[in-house]
């Protein structure tokens, strides 16, 4: 797996930069004056509820959507003034499958080679290379409409990396895939980032995906970045672990004095103790509680962080890729 190198990015060059980047649909700002820097070789995650602006941001960076105002550079090229050069630097795996059903897997890749100007001499080799990465060699000559959802995704991923882009955009790369396939795809992605020194920007709804893959995560909501940090920092700042236990002698006064205890709730004879780092302090905590009948530890997750920053209410599903966004894409 990709090794996390938090805090050491300052030396790497910036490959994606936005300055007050904004995209409005009528009065609504899907992306609202966003400032962002992504460094070379980084796996950068965009998290956010439906309609938060993730896809809109990626669409702008991929030059298929023009910003209303603000500027952005990808691989050093201005997305509005030099879209051609931006496109040569990037690979994309879209949210909705965009491989051609009536072509074979191989034909899809051949077409991509031509469209992205891969030199003739290395085309065959590149196709073999990516087919083996995604394990599709045996099915390459079958029409894509005979593929399963996971196979299509893998084909798209193969296509996205075939021209060795500097930057790979993944819009929900593992949406609707079974856990095995998801696991595989994560491995490919982090391998690639290391081997090819490729920068990856991905959106996802899967917290565990973001947590295990990303070097840094931006949680965005209503078109703005709410918070941006490494997954472990984000968790450290917000998340507490909860120790649920049943003591023989309930005495919360002494426990409250402990410096790592944040909060204690009592319910039906059970204590819910929020503490900073259960893996470190559990032993000590238990010495202060006296004998107990029962203990259970629930570790805090990135999900808690996400909920903390974006709230609990369900968003209107005027989601990305929905009818209205398509209508307004003009």
């Amino acid at each position: 797996m990709h090794t996390k190198t938090e805090g050491s990015f300052s030396r790497e060059p910036v490959v994606i930069k936005t300055e007050a980047l904004t995209r409005k649909y009528g009065k609504i700002s899907a992306v609202d004056s966003m400032n962002l820097e992504v460094k070379e070789g980084e796996i950068f995650g965009l998290l956010g509820p439906n309609g938060a602006g993730k896809t809109t941001l990626i669409s702008m960076l991929c030059t298929i959507l023009k910003p209303t105002s603000g500027r952005a550079w990808v691989n050093g090229f201005d997305i509005v003034k030099e879209p051609g050069k931006v496109r040569k630097s990037i690979g994309i795996v879209f949210q909705a499958p965009s491989v051609d059903d009536l072509l074979t897997g191989l034909e899809n890749l051949q077409m991509h080679n031509l469209l992205f100007g891969v030199p003739r001499e290395i085309r065959k080799q590149r196709i073999q290379e990516v087919l083996s990465i995604v394990n599709l060699e045996k099915r390459a000559d079958d029409l894509v409409n005979t593929y399963s959802g996971g196979m299509r995704r893998r084909l798209e991923l193969a296509r996205g990396i075939m021209h060795h882009p500097k930057i790979l955009f993944l819009d929900e790369p593992t949406l609707g895939l079974d856990p095995q396939t998801r696991e595989h795809i994560w491995e490919y992605i982090s391998d690639l980032a290391v081997k090819e020194c490729m920068t990856v920007m991905l959106t996802t709804h899967y917290m565990e995906e973001a947590e295990s893959l990303c070097d840094r995560i931006a949680i965005i909501d209503y078109g703005k970045i709410v918070v941006l940090d490494s997954p472990s920092e984000l968790k450290n700042q917000i998340v507490t672990d909860v120790v649920k236990l049943k003591p023989r002698i309930p005495d919360t006064e002494e426990l409250k004095k402990l410096e790592y205890v944040r909060k204690i709730e009592e319910k039906d004879g059970l204590l819910y103790i929020s503490i900073k780092d259960a893996s470190k302090h559990l032993q000590d905590l238990l010495t202060h509680t006296g004998p107990i009948d029962f203990v259970e530890v629930r570790s805090g997750t990135l999900n808690d962080v996400f909920m903390h920053y974006t709230g609990r209410e369900i968003r209107e599903a005027e989601a990305e890729g929905g009818f209205w966004e398509r209508m307004m894409k003009k």
């Binding site: 051609g84 050069k85 496109r87 040569k88 965009s98």
Partner: protein, 248 residues
């Protein structure tokens, strides 16, 4: 170089898909057959000759042009499907200019139409239309020019609409007037008043005139005028097409 490869890639995809969708090929052959054998023979039984030819033979060039017109215009609907299926995105983010994407699509659509022309030319041989190799080559080139113009119009409409249903509605308002006011079914030489005005501003009239001139002989305008009008019309349609694709 990479632009040409881009055009080739898009054309190749269109051609492959067309050949794989047998329904598309078969259905596009049926309606011209009905026009020639049902309409042409039926109406022909009440008419002696038109400009020296049986009615069935007289409308044959018009029906070939009609087939090209329908196939070419309707091809524009596939851009809407491409967009619905999100396939288009892959092409739009490629480092290939929109003009090349458009060119690839135009060639793809023209290929569809010209494959149908080949079928119709073969049928023409069986109903003793006077087709010599030279005639076939000239007619083919003229039909290709017509096809390029009409595919461009279809793509302009497709690029600016969102739903296949909307496309069908709009295209019917373009297709049928163009066909009926083109002289495909009657000579345009002795029309009166408004009808002659409408046919003279219809660009397809010049296409039909040229193809009939090439295949059968009788024609209304000098051939260079026909070709010039079609060329001019194609250029205008293609320019609007490239602009529409840039906005996509």
């Amino acid at each position: 170089m990479s632009e040409i490869e881009g055009i080739y890639a898009i054309w190749l995809r269109e051609a492959k898909i067309y050949m794989r969708e047998k329904e598309r090929v078969i259905s596009s052959i049926v309606s011209p057959l009905l026009w020639i054998f049902a309409f042409g023979a039926g109406v022909g039984s009440t008419i002696e000759t038109v400009q020296g030819y049986s009615y069935q033979i007289f409308i044959y060039p018009g029906i070939v042009v009609m087939t090209v017109l329908f196939a070419s215009l309707f091809y524009g609907v596939y851009i809407i499907w491409d967009r619905k299926l999100d396939f288009l995105k892959e092409v739009l983010v490629a480092p290939v200019s929109r003009a090349s994407v458009f060119a690839g699509k135009v060639l793809g659509g023209a290929t569809d139409a010209m494959i149908q022309v080949v079928f119709l030319l073969i049928i023409g041989l069986f109903i003793s239309v006077p087709l010599t190799p030279i005639v076939i080559i000239n007619a083919f080139l003229m039909l290709l020019l017509i096809s390029i113009a009409m595919v461009s119009i279809g793509l302009v409409i497709g690029a600016n609409l969102k739903s296949p249903e909307g496309f069908t509605l709009v295209i019917n308002f373009v297709m049928w007037p163009m066909f009926f006011f083109s002289g495909a079914l009657f000579p345009v030489s002795n029309l009166s008043g408004w009808l002659s005005v409408v046919t003279f501003i219809n660009p397809l009239t010049y296409g039909v005139d040229a193809v009939r001139g090439i295949i059968l002989g009788p024609h209304q305008f000098p051939i260079f005028l026909d070709v010039a009008m079609m060329l001019l019309f194609s250029l205008i349609a293609m320019s609007i097409g490239v602009l529409s694709f840039r906005r996509m």
